[in-house]
Subunit: 242 residues, 2 copies
């Protein structure tokens, strides 16, 4: 049987104007090779409703999977969800499941759940949510179109949750532990944790916030007990996280 095929659609004027060097497609191309999905096309387009809608229709019709990156944040120019819903003629509104995920995420961080953030709970009817262990706001799969954030460390964390679904593997579950320290300073302790918990995987996603280095540590496992054991060990090892 031939491998399933895929296309990647990158949405963002910042790429087309040369301000940002695109890296998500490069990362995902490497991941798709590992799981036996043939990447046939990468396309970068601008933040325009009809352009996105038409590209989603064309690429989802001609490939087994279409993965999009970008345009699902809280601001007015984040129009990917609307355009993808339009491509499949699906209604789009705030969904209770997505609102609950965002609400829990912000509550755990003492962060206000503003109307702009509520915008990220707008998910097309019939879509399946994609876990975002880093920043909470879920992506979604509508038919064969998988809609992901554009921020590289969030994109990479979401890909880890999506890929098992595309290849028929057991779904990965995840928990996130955020720390305001540089990634390098915890690398040794994290490696020891990973060795002590072979049924779980430990990913680290560095970021910079208000001029300070931080790292999101994400534990993943297809086994709920292994996930919770790994997460408990993570909390014990790094009590300064949250």
């Amino acid at each position: 049987m031939p491998n399933p095929t895929a296309a990647i659609l990158i949405i963002g004027d910042e790429i087309l104007t040369g301000r940002t060097r695109e890296g998500n497609a490069y990362f995902l191309a490497g991941e798709l090779v590992k799981v036996g999905i043939d990447l046939r096309q990468i396309r970068v387009i601008s933040d325009d409703h009809e352009t996105i809608r038409d590209a989603v229709r064309e690429l989802s019709a001609n490939h087994d999977h279409l993965i999009t990156s970008g345009g699902i944040g809280p601001t007015h120019d984040d129009i990917t969800a609307d355009a993808v819903a339009a491509a499949f003629d699906a209604p789009l509104d705030i969904r209770d499941d997505a609102r609950a995920i965002l609400g829990a995420h912000y509550a755990a961080r003492n962060t206000e759940f503003t109307p702009a953030r509520l915008r990220m709970a707008r998910i097309p009817e019939g879509a399946r949510l994609i876990d975002n262990p880093v920043s909470g706001a879920p992506g979604f799969s509508l038919e064969n179109c998988h809609v992901m954030a554009g921020v590289p460390n969030i994109f990479q964390a979401m890909v880890a949750g999506l890929l098992p679904r595309l290849t028929g593997g057991k779904p990965l579950q995840s928990r996130n532990w955020q720390m305001m320290v540089a990634e390098a300073s915890i690398a040794d302790a994290l490696r020891a944790l990973a060795e002590a918990h072979p049924l779980a995987s430990f990913g680290s996603y560095p970021f910079v916030q208000d001029g300070h280095y931080g790292t999101n540590l994400v534990v993943r496992s297809t086994d709920r007990a292994a996930l919770e054991a790994g997460f408990a060990a993570l909390q014990t090892t790094f009590p300064e996280g949250k």
Copy 2:
């Protein structure tokens, strides 16, 4: 009047399989912004004749300019020229002007002009050649489709020659001086040359050959006398070049 529009078509399985991180589109996106051409799409596709032909037809029909990168080298899988010729129903054969350029390039370097290298003189009928000051083998413009090499330092050198043509500027002429030294070791002397010859520009394109660092120095000017004066000074400053 609105800006002219452009699309970039990157041809290469090495990008789609995640082996190589694409950088030519990023470079060209930044250059197009500077000259007022609106980049509307970047597309990466595989080394497949029909895929290239169909993408060239679609993107050249929907944009003022289409720039391609990759697939014009000497090997059997370099099929871009064939596919672009097919897209515009143009005959393709070895052209005398391209053969003369390649012949002079190899003669100056005591390099054999092999049948594989002669393959790079295959240029569609009616196409205008694009100067390649680094490695000799010309690109070409057929209608509004501009076909360039994929090797980054060659691509960048060819872009410098192409852009004035797209924007109605005076055509740039160029001469190349190749040296087997690292770029950093000649940076100061090159800056002094550039300051002494304000009507010419001096570009440097580093490469590695057989494990040794080398640099192609390219002098460009729209003024023939300024070009020759700059090139003579380059030869005097760096007599070890060729």
